[in-house]
C-alpha cells in the first residue's frame, strides 16, 4: 500500500461534497468512497468526519434522510443540495487555480527566476 497522505487543512468539506455529489451516501459510505477514489492514499480521521457532515448540513449544503443500508440497517443518507452543488463547483474551480499557481511556482527552475 502506498504511503498515506495527511489531509490538507480545510479540504475535508470539499471531499465530502464531491463524494455525495456522485449519489446519496451514509457517513461510513462517505469515508469508504473518499478512500476508494483516492486509492487509499488519503488518511481521514474518522473522528472529524461526522462534525464535518453536521457542519455542512447546518450550512444547508447537504441534506440528510433516514434510509436502509445494503445490509438492511437503519442509516442516515446524505445528499447534495443545490447550494452544495454550487459550492462544490466554486471550490473545485478555486482549488484548480490554486494548484496551478502553487504548482507553477514550485516547478520554476532557478535559471528562469
Amino acid at each position: 500500500m502506498a504511503e498515506q497522505l495527511e489531509l490538507l487543512q480545510g479540504t475535508l468539506d470539499m471531499l465530502i461534497l464531491k463524494a455525495v455529489s456522485l449519489g446519496p451516501l451514509h457517513g461510513y459510505g462517505v469515508l469508504l468512497r473518499i478512500q476508494q477514489i483516492s486509492g487509499n492514499r488519503l488518511e481521514i480521521q474518522q473522528g472529524s468526519l461526522y462534525p464535518a457532515l453536521y457542519r455542512l448540513e447546518h450550512q444547508g449544503l447537504i441534506q440528510s434522510e433516514w434510509g436502509e443500508s445494503e445490509n438492511n440497517r437503519k442509516a442516515k443518507y446524505y445528499r447534495l443540495t443545490a447550494a452544495g452543488r454550487k459550492r462544490l463547483q466554486a471550490e473545485t474551480a478555486n482549488w484548480n487555480r490554486m494548484a496551478e499557481v502553487i504548482g507553477s511556482i514550485l516547478s520554476r527552475k532557478p535559471e528562469e527566476a
Binding site: Y28, Q46, G47, Y54, Q59, G60, A83
Partner: protein, 894 residues
C-alpha cells in the same frame, strides 16, 4: 436558504434535543457496526475489531459535543452550563442569596417606582403631534396679578404673532350627555375651530370643527372622545352624522377623536368637545367678557423667551383698549408662556428630581452592599475557584462564571424589584395622584422596563465585576497550598470592604438627614395655628346639571332647601353655605379695591382680596374667632341692612389703623352699601406656609342677583360646610342619601372632609416626606446589615487570632472593644462623609422646607446620633460573638 437550514438544525438541537441526540447515536452505532464488520472481513478478531472501530471514532459523548459545537452551539451550551452551575451555587447558599436578592430588590424597586412616576410625568407621552411645541399662556396685569385675557386679545395674537404658528381658545365646561335614557356628566370644553389643528391630532372618524360652527346658533355639533364614543354610544361605527343629546339639546356628531386623545389631559372625566360660539360680547374687551383659556403652537425654532416677549409687546398695545384709565391698570398686559407639558407637573418637578436623587443614592448603597457580600463570598469560595482553575478552567472562563452568577442575581433582584415597585405605587397611589395628576393607572411602560433591565445589568456590573475579577485573579497554587487560611492579598481586600461600608453609611446618612429635615417641615406645618377648626367638618360641593336650571337661581331653587334639610339631620351640629373653602386648591375668587385715603391726592391704595359669600353659621362650623365686632347672624336677612365682614389683613389696608367696624362700608350696587360690622382674626386661608391674605365676606342670604358681588360668588361656586357630631367621613353616606332625596339631580355631588383638604394642601411635602422615610429607612437597614455582615465576616476570619489573644490572657471586654473600635472608625468615617454630602445636597431641598433651614445643625446631630447608636447595636452582636470564641477550639482548628 442557508439561514433556513441553520434555523432548522438549531431548532432540532435545542427543542428536540433528545431526539436529535439519539439520531446522532444511531448514526454512529451504524458506523461502528459497519466498520467492525469490514475489519472482521479483513481478518481481525471480533473483539479487537470492535475496539479499534470505537477507538478510531472517539467516544460517543465527545462526538455528541462535537456535533453541537459544529453547528455553533458551544457558546449557548457554555452559558447554559454556567447558569445551571450558578443556580446550584446560589441554592447551596440560601442566606447569601436571599440577602442579596432583598438588597437588590430594594435598590432596584425604589428606582423602578420613581422611573414609573417620572415616565408618567416629566417624560409623559402626550397624544399630540410634537407636544413640546404646544404652549399655554397666563396673563397678568401691571402689578403681576393674574388677569384673564379675552377672546379678542387671542384673535390679535393669532393675527400678529410671528413666533406662534397658531392660537386656539377653549372654555372649560361640563355638560350632560343622554346615554341609555340617563344623563351622564362629561367634561365638555368649548373650543375654537382650529383647536384640533393646533394640537395636531386628526379625528379618527369624521372631522374637527369648521369656522362657521363658531357662529352663534350654528354650533350644535360635537366631537366625541374615543371613551365617550365607546362608553356612551356603544362604539357605533356610523355615529358621524347622527344626533346625541347634550344638555337636553340635540347635537350632530361630526367627529370622533382617536383613543387616548384628551384635552385637558389631566382631566379624568369622559370628554366631548363643543364649538365655542362667539357671541358679540366675546369681541369686547371688558371684565364681563367670558374668560377664555388659550393654547398655541410655537413656530419651529422659536423659543419661549421670544414668544413671551412678542406676546407681551402685543398685549401692551391692547391693554389700553380695556375701558377707562383706572381699569387699564387691571387689564392683562404681561404674558407668560409655559410648555403645556410643564404645566402638568407644575411645582412637583423639584420634588421629583430630589426623589430621583434619593433613589439613586439608595441604589448605590444597595450595590456597595451586594459588592461586599460578593467579595466575602468570593473569599470563602477561593478554594473552589482555585480547584476549577487547576482543572483547566481559564481565567476568562472563571470570570464569566462569576459574572453569570451576579447577572442571575441582578435579574432576579430586578424582578423582585419590579413587584416591589408595583406595590410601592399602589400604596402611594392616592398621594401621587393628588399631587401629580397621573394617568389612570401606572402600568410599567416599555421605557420603564428597559430602564429596569439596564439597571439590573448595571447593578451586576457595579456590584459583581470587581469581586469577580479579584476572585478569578487569585494566584492558584498559593490558595491551594494555604487552604482556608487568609492569603496575602486579603488585607487590601478588607480595606476595600471597609471603604464600601463607610460609603454605605455616609450615603444613608445623606438620606436620613434629608428625611429628618422634611419630617421637621411636616411637623412645623402641622403646628402652624390655622386659626380655624378642621375636625368634624365636611365640605360638600352640590353638583346639578346646570342646563335643567337655566334661568333659575340655584341658590333659591337648590342650595337653600338643601341647607334647610341638612340642618335637620341627626348628627349635624350646624351647616352653612360658603363660596370659598380655606386651603382648598379648588375654586377661588379675588376682588380688587381701590381705596383713596381721605383728601390726600395720592394714587389710591390697591387691595387684592379674597371674596367670599358665607352664611351666618360659617363661624360656628369653622370656629374662627372675631377680632372686633361680630360675624353675620340670623338678623342679617334679605330685608335688613347689608353687612360685610373683613379680616385684619384687609382692615389694615382699608383704613389706617384698621378701625373699620361700623365706620366703613363697601358698595354692593347702586344705592346699596354693605356696612362692615366685624373684623375676623387672620387665619390661613391661602396656604399653611403663606401668611393670610386680605379677605372680605358678604352675607349669603343678603346678596341679590343684581349685586355686583353676586356673580363671582353665589353664581359660580357654592359649597356646604357641615359640622358633624361624629366622624365626618362616616357621615358621607347618610348625607348623600338625604341629598338625593332633596333632588335626584344632586347625585353627582362631591364630598371632602376638611382634614383631607388640609392634608392635600401640604401634599407635596407629605408625599416627599413619606417616600423619603421609606427610602432612608431601607437605606439605613441596608447599611447596618452591611456593617453587621462585614464585622461578622472579619470576626470569623480572625477566629484563630482571637483565640490566641484569649489564650494569652486577653479579657472578653477588651475583645469586644477591639471589634467595636473597628466599627467606630467605620461609623465615624461614614458620618463625616455623610454630613459633608448632606450639607452639599441640602440646597436641593430648600424649596420644600418650612420652619427649618437646610443646614439645620440640630437635625444633623440628632440623625447622626441615631445612625451611630444603631450602628453600635449592629456591631455589638459580632463583637459578642468574638468575645465568646473558645480559645481551645479556635486553636485546634489550625
Amino acid at each position: 436558504m442557508s439561514a433556513l437550514s441553520r434555523m432548522r438544525s438549531w431548532w432540532r438541537a435545542l427543542v428536540h434535543r433528545q431526539q436529535a441526540e439519539s439520531d446522532v447515536e444511531t448514526e454512529l452505532r451504524f458506523h461502528i457496526e459497519s466498520y467492525t464488520a469490514d475489519l472482521m472481513r479483513s481478518g481481525v478478531a471480533p473483539d479487537e475489531a470492535l475496539r479499534r472501530a470505537k477507538a478510531e471514532l472517539g467516544s460517543t459523548a465527545a462526538q455528541r459535543d462535537e456535533w453541537r459545537a459544529s453547528i455553533g452551539l458551544r457558546a449557548w451550551d457554555d452559558l447554559r452550563a454556567d447558569v445551571r452551575y450558578a443556580f446550584r451555587q446560589l441554592r447551596s447558599a440560601p442566606g447569601f442569596t436571599v440577602t442579596v436578592l432583598t438588597v437588590l430588590a430594594l435598590g432596584i424597586g425604589a428606582n423602578a417606582a420613581m422611573f414609573s412616576v417620572i415616565d408618567a410625568t416629566l417624560l409623559r407621552w402626550l397624544p399630540y403631534s410634537r407636544p413640546s411645541e404646544i404652549l399655554t399662556f397666563t396673563t397678568v396685569d401691571a402689578k403681576g396679578t393674574p388677569s384673564f385675557a379675552t377672546y379678542a386679545d387671542f384673535e390679535e395674537w393669532q393675527r400678529q404673532s410671528r413666533t406662534l404658528s397658531s392660537v386656539a381658545c377653549y372654555l372649560p365646561n361640563s355638560a350632560y350627555v343622554k346615554a341609555s335614557g340617563d344623563d351622564q356628566m362629561v367634561s365638555a370644553p368649548a373650543v375654537t375651530a382650529n383647536f384640533f389643528t393646533v394640537l395636531g391630532t386628526a379625528p379618527a372618524l369624521g372631522r374637527g370643527f369648521i369656522a362657521d360652527e363658531q357662529i352663534p346658533g350654528k354650533g350644535k355639533v360635537v366631537v366625541l372622545s374615543d371613551r365617550a364614543w365607546q362608553t356612551l354610544l356603544r362604539a357605533d361605527p356610523d355615529i358621524v352624522g347622527k344626533q346625541v343629546t347634550v344638555n337636553n339639546v340635540p347635537y350632530t356628531v361630526v367627529g370622533v377623536m382617536p383613543p387616548r386623545f384628551a384635552f385637558p389631559i389631566d382631566d379624568p372625566t369622559t370628554q366631548i368637545w363643543l364649538p365655542l360660539e362667539t357671541t358679540p360680547n366675546y369681541h369686547q374687551r371688558n371684565f364681563s367678557t367670558p374668560p377664555c383659556e388659550s393654547i398655541g403652537r410655537m413656530q419651529k425654532g422659536a423659543n419661549l423667551a421670544a414668544v413671551q416677549a412678542e406676546l407681551t409687546a402685543i398685549q401692551l398695545r391692547l391693554a389700553p383698549l380695556y375701558g377707562n384709565e383706572k381699569l387699564s391698570d387691571l387689564a392683562p398686559s404681561g404674558v407668560e408662556a409655559t410648555r403645556y407639558r410643564d404645566t402638568l407637573v407644575k411645582n412637583a418637578r423639584p420634588a421629583l428630581r430630589a426623589l430621583l436623587l434619593a433613589v439613586a443614592i439608595m441604589w448605590l448603597i444597595a450595590c456597595a452592599n451586594v459588592a461586599n457580600l460578593m467579595l466575602a463570598r468570593g473569599m470563602a469560595r477561593q478554594r473552589e475557584i482555585a480547584v476549577r482553575g487547576a482543572l483547566g478552567a481559564s481565567r476568562w472562563r472563571l470570570l464569566r462564571q462569576l459574572i453569570t452568577e451576579s447577572l442571575l442575581l441582578s435579574f432576579a433582584g430586578g424582578l423582585a424589584g419590579l413587584a416591589l415597585a408595583q406595590l410601592l405605587l399602589k400604596v402611594f397611589d392616592k398621594a401621587l395622584n393628588s399631587q401629580l395628576h397621573l394617568p389612570e393607572h401606572l402600568a410599567p411602560s416599555s421605557t420603564v422596563l428597559a430602564a429596569l433591565l439596564i439597571l439590573s445589568v448595571l447593578s451586576a456590573m457595579v456590584s459583581g465585576l470587581l469581586p469577580a475579577w479579584l476572585a478569578a485573579r487569585a494566584p492558584l497554587e498559593h490558595t491551594m497550598r494555604q487552604g482556608q487560611q487568609q492569603s496575602g492579598g486579603s488585607r487590601k481586600r478588607h480595606q476595600l470592604q471597609q471603604a464600601m461600608v463607610v460609603a454605605e453609611i455616609g450615603l444613608s446618612l445623606v438620606l436620613l438627614i434629608a428625611c429628618g429635615l422634611l419630617l421637621r417641615t411636616v411637623f412645623a406645618l402641622r403646628r402652624v395655628p390655622l386659626g380655624f377648626r378642621t375636625d368634624h367638618v365636611l365640605m360638600v360641593q352640590p353638583k346639578v346639571p346646570r342646563y335643567k336650571y337655566r334661568g333659575m337661581d340655584l341658590n333659591r331653587a337648590v342650595y337653600q332647601p338643601l341647607l334647610e334639610r341638612v340642618r335637620q339631620m341627626n348628627g349635624v351640629r350646624s351647616a352653612s353655605l360658603t363660596t370659598v373653602v380655606p386651603l382648598s386648591k379648588g375654586f377661588d375668587s379675588m376682588v380688587t379695591f381701590f381705596v383713596s385715603q381721605g383728601e390726600k391726592s395720592g394714587p389710591p391704595t390697591r387691595i387684592d382680596a379674597k371674596l367670599r359669600a358665607a352664611g351666618p353659621e360659617l363661624q360656628e362650623v369653622l370656629g374662627f374667632r372675631m377680632y372686633q365686632g361680630r360675624f353675620f347672624n340670623g338678623q342679617d336677612t334679605a330685608e335688613s341692612q347689608p353687612v360685610a365682614v373683613v379680616n385684619r389683613a384687609f382692615a389694615r389696608l382699608y383704613v389706617p389703623g384698621g378701625d373699620v367696624v361700623e365706620k366703613s362700608s363697601v358698595r354692593l350696587s347702586k344705592n346699596r352699601q354693605a356696612k362692615i360690622v366685624g373684623v375676623m382674626d387672620d387665619f390661613h386661608q391661602a396656604a399653611i406656609n403663606e401668611s393670610p391674605v386680605p379677605e372680605i365676606d358678604f352675607c349669603a342670604p343678603q346678596l341679590k342677583e343684581t349685586d355686583g358681588f353676586y356673580q363671582p360668588t353665589m353664581q359660580v361656586h357654592v359649597e356646604l360646610a357641615v359640622r358633624t357630631v361624629e366622624d365626618p367621613a362616616k357621615f358621607i353616606p347618610d348625607l348623600r342619601s338625604v341629598m338625593t332625596e332633596v333632588s335626584p339631580d344632586l347625585k353627582g355631588s362631591v364630598f371632602t372632609t376638611m382634614d383631607q383638604v388640609v392634608e392635600d394642601s401640604m401634599g407635596s411635602q407629605l408625599l416627599a416626606a413619606h417616600l423619603l422615610e421609606l427610602f432612608a429607612g431601607s437605606a439605613l437597614l441596608v447599611a447596618l446589615a452591611g456593617l453587621y455582615g462585614l464585622l461578622s465576616y472579619l470576626v470569623a476570619q480572625r477566629r484563630q487570632e482571637l483565640g490566641v489573644r484569649m489564650a494569652l490572657g486577653a479579657q472578653r471586654g477588651s475583645i469586644i472593644q477591639l471589634v467595636l473600635r473597628q466599627a467606630g472608625f467605620m461609623l465615624l468615617g461614614g458620618a463625616a462623609i455623610g454630613s459633608v454630602l448632606a450639607y452639599l445636597s441640602s440646597r436641593m431641598l430648600a424649596g420644600f422646607l418650612f420652619g427649618v433651614k437646610p443646614s439645620d445643625l440640630w437635625t444633623m446631630m440628632v440623625v447622626s446620633l441615631v445612625l451611630l447608636i444603631s450602628g453600635f447595636i449592629a456591631a455589638y452582636l459580632p463583637a459578642r460573638r468574638a468575645a465568646h470564641v473558645d480559645p481551645l477550639e479556635a486553636l485546634r482548628g489550625e
